[in-house]
């Protein structure tokens, strides 16, 4: 199991980093592994798995950064994963050595996790991190005494400055060579706990659990864990344990809790002998900052400023970079179009694969901007304070305070917003936020709103003499999305995503200056995960959509085309000829699109969308705008004979809208119905690919499409039918 010492040079040492959140565990991981880390997901669960290599002097380590958790007993996916990784229930080997990263200023709570990990039989050692901060807070730790008391190596460190890594190398090698060095003695359990352990052990052994529990700690883990998780491992096990060892009326007498209290009593006794507190009369630095940042009035004002800054950065600050990405990708595709021979392979490369790649890269600036903001907020300690400040407000819409930043960013774009939900600790809360985030009116909807308002609302009288009708309608779309998000959250909480509503037990860590190295590293990780994992799905979906819009490539009737080509040839003027040729190509493209699979789908679904006021031509747009909502504009341009244009500016959108109105496809009522549909519907491949990556399954993206598009259909149906009955057109 863990017998491979330094004498087996071929296999790297398996080292796991465990620890509470905010202990500098990630800083230590980055310091150990440099730039070489692999970010993935644990199977089936949306917890990120980070693995890297550390080249220690004697033997390389394969370092796994376990998810941060306060306890090993599984009440959250992070804790479940941490336990499973430590006991070989994931696909990774059982770690040879577990380095428990401990915040020197918060020893008691941190050492609880150490005891729990030691109890399940892993050789441990302590990386006593942030010694400098603890010293400043007036906490002096006798490291040698602590090591003696705990009976495992204790390495004092300041991981952020790389201090103590050499000592850690030596200590890990020593424990790997002799695991006995890292065995913390078992906590002596009181009679009631010992009896319960014996009882529970009998049940566990009888149930046939594999591998059977060895230590008392193993038994206690299965006892204290959520019955659901025990049941998932072994059907009926959780319930059997709960029935045999019921929870007493006074929760303080529950043996599960008595065990925790016993561990703390042992820790408190140890710390009493190793830690000296200097009398620090002034309250801590963080408390002084909190007096300002959490002040009822001043704090609220600063919060609004901070959030406005973050939103502005994502919404507008990223735009120049988006423009650069678009123009570079546009040039590449233009170049390829002239270099490559004109055939199907060229088209699939440029309009499928390259379009997908650029559809991925175009999100990067916003993602980087948002995650730059989030990692600064998180590392500084302010993110937890924002959740504290808005918790009550968010509770009214049925979501926790931590949903605020993701939902706010969803007004810029749902893709980074959905990625940002990973700061939310509760799985169900997170899922719920992901499901309602696409309802926030993102910036890709604006070209569609412009198309409609410019065509049918621009020349209407001003409301009350000051508000333009178009502006009011667009504002109403924002409100509609927000209200539906509240209603959806309410309904989903009671149907598809039951439970959640996690208690707010949120650590408010001390304020710290963010470490640029951690910030850069987390940005690179995010960017890489998005490009490599989400990007491949976006490219695949884009190619499929391209095929739908392209095949079977039936353009103008060959005879008509030949006649018109001949007509072009006889034209005299160079300019005239070019214009006629362009018009011929446009007509050809129009017919090709109408005859494509997407065109046929548009026609087939016409009975379905006619009650919303849409004809089959808009149907094609609904299919095509699955690539991204704003793509509706060039598709409509093509369908209504205006030609498509890559640069979707307001003027082009307005022109296309007017062509649609001219052709009778757009009236004020039909336009309103179309806007309502776009405000609600799930029509974005990139969002779907992101939901897939973040939830690790196709189930939730498909669910989002079904529920949001049904909702969109119903709302547009109501608008058009009621509007028609009331005599609007």
């Amino acid at each position: 199991m863990s017998s491979a010492g330094p004498d087996s040079p071929r296999r790297p040492l398996e080292v796991a980093l465990a620890g509470n959140p905010n202990t500098g565990k990630t800083t230590l991981f980055n310091a150990l592994t440099g730039a070489r880390a692999h970010v993935g997901n644990y199977p089936g669960i949306t917890v990120e798995r980070r693995v890297g290599t550390h080249h220690a002097p004697e033997q390389a380590w394969r370092v796994t950064d376990l998810p941060g958790c306060y306890s090993l007993s599984a009440h959250s996916p992070e804790e479940e994963i941490a336990h499973h990784a430590l006991t070989g229930r994931t696909n990774d080997p059982i770690p040879d050595v577990v380095v428990v990263v401990v915040d020197a200023a918060n020893l008691a709570r941190n050492l609880l996790l150490l005891l729990q990990i030691a109890e399940i039989g892993r050789p441990v050692l302590v990386a006593l991190n942030m010694m400098d901060a603890a010293h400043k807070e007036g906490i002096d730790i006798d490291v040698a005494a602590l090591q003696r008391e705990l009976q495992c190596p204790v390495v004092a460190m300041v991981a952020a400055r790389g201090e103590g890594i050499d000592a850690l190398d030596v200590a890990v090698a020593a424990v790997a060579a002799n695991p006995q060095l890292g065995r913390v003695a078992e906590t002596p359990w009181p009679e009631s706990v010992a009896q319960t352990i014996a009882q529970a052990r009998a049940i566990l052994v009888q149930s046939g659990l594999q591998p059977p529990p060895v230590s008392d700690g193993d038994v206690l883990w299965w006892l204290a864990t959520d019955p659901e998780i025990a049941d998932a491992e072994m059907p009926g096990l959780g319930r059997a344990l709960l029935e045999a060892i019921p929870r007493p009326v006074d929760p303080a007498l529950d043996p599960r809790r008595v065990a925790t209290v016993t561990r703390f009593a042992r820790i408190d006794a140890i710390l009493g002998r190793c830690v000296r507190r200097r009398d620090v009369t002034t309250s801590g630095r963080s408390e002084r900052v909190d007096r300002v940042l959490l002040h009822p009035a001043l704090g609220a004002g600063l919060f609004i400023l901070a959030m406005a800054g973050l939103f502005q950065a994502v919404f507008a600050g990223a735009q120049p970079a988006v423009d650069v990405v678009e123009s570079v990708m546009g040039s590449i595709s233009d170049l390829l179009r002239t270099w490559l021979p004109d055939n199907l392979l060229r088209d699939v490369l440029i309009d499928g694969v390259l379009a997908g790649i650029s559809g991925t890269l175009v999100f990067l600036p916003q993602i980087l901007m948002l995650f730059l903001g989030i990692s600064l907020l998180e590392d500084s300690g302010y993110l937890a304070r924002t959740a504290y400040l808005v918790d009550q407000l968010m509770a009214r819409i049925g979501l926790p305070g931590k949903a605020f930043v993701p939902l706010l960013s969803a007004y810029a774009c749902a893709v980074p917003a959905i990625m940002a939900t990973r700061t939310m600790p509760d799985r169900r809360d997170r899922l719920l936020t992901i499901m309602v985030a696409p309802l926030m009116s993102c910036s890709a909807r604006l070209p569609v709103y412009t198309l409609v308002t410019a065509a049918v609302f621009a020349h209407q009288a001003r409301v009350l003499g000051i508000f333009s009708l178009g502006g009011l309608v667009v504002t109403a779309m924002y409100a509609l999305g927000f209200l539906l998000a509240i209603v959806s959250a309410f309904v989903l909480r009671r149907t598809a995503i039951q439970g959640g509503g996690a208690p707010l037990l949120l650590e408010m860590p001390p304020y710290r200056w963010p470490r640029w190295r951690n910030v850069v590293r987390s940005l690179l990780d995010r960017a890489w995960v998005f490009v490599a994992q989400t990007g491949t799905v976006i490219v695949a979906l884009t190619v499929i959509l391209w095929a739908l819009m392209t095949f079977p490539r039936e353009g103008l009737d060959p005879q008509i085309k030949a006649t018109r080509t001949a007509q072009v040839q006889v034209l005299t003027g160079e300019a005239e000829r070019a214009q006629a040729l362009q018009s011929l190509e446009r007509d050809d493209a129009q017919v090709r699109l109408q005859n494509s699979i997407a065109g046929r789908i548009g026609r087939t679904i016409e009975p379905l969308i006619a009650p919303l006021g849409f004809d089959w031509r808009i149907g094609i747009g609904l299919v095509g705008s699955f690539a991204a909502r704003e793509v509706l504009v060039p598709i409509m341009g093509q369908v209504f004979g205006r030609g498509s244009q890559a640069d979707i500016d307001d003027r082009y959108a307005a022109d296309v809208g007017k062509s649609m109105a001219h052709a009778g496809a757009l009236t004020p009522l039909k336009g309103l119905s179309l806007m309502v549909f776009f405000a609600i519907a799930m029509q974005c491949l990139s969002t779907l690919a992101t939901i897939r990556r973040e939830t690790n399954s196709w189930r939730w993206p498909i669910f989002a499409v079904v529920y949001l598009n049904s909702l969109a259909w119903l709302a547009s149906f109501a608008v058009f039918q009621i509007g028609t009955r009331l005599g609007f057109s």
């Binding site: 306060y70 306890s71 007993s73 009440h75 200023a105 918060n106 020893l107 008691a108 709570r109 609880l112 906490i139 204290a224 959520d226 929870r247 929760p251 303080a252 529950d254 599960r256 809790r257 925790t260 209290v261 703390f264 009593a265 963080s286 408390e287 909190d290 959490l294 009822p296 609220a300 937890a384 959740a387 504290y388 400040l389 918790d391 009550q392 407000l393 305070g401 208690p503 707010l504 037990l505 949120l506 650590e507 408010m508 860590p509 001390p510």
Partner: protein, 84 residues
């Protein structure tokens, strides 16, 4: 000894935890975070409009909803007890 609940004590006043009356997983979690009998605890501040509380237990600062804090019982540490 007068018993208080964590949501009702004066901000900044030193207290000790006496009893976590919450059953189930949430109560287990609070105990694991350090709310054990005898642990020093104080209320730092209350968020406006009935929002959550900022609480310090041992060396750990966290936010808690008021309803949850209501189930945590405390006893005030008097100046005369502080030597103990």
């Amino acid at each position: 000894m007068v018993s208080h609940t964590l949501d009702s004590i004066q901000p900044g006043e030193p207290h000790r935890v006496t009893w976590v009356a919450l059953a189930g997983v949430l109560g287990d979690r609070l105990v694991e975070l350090g709310f054990t009998p005898g642990a020093p605890v104080q209320l730092l501040r209350r968020a406006p409009f009935g929002g959550p509380l900022q609480v310090q237990v041992r060396d750990f600062v966290l936010s808690l909803r008021r309803a949850d804090a209501q189930a945590i019982y405390t006893a005030r540490v008097l100046p005369t007890d502080q030597a103990a």
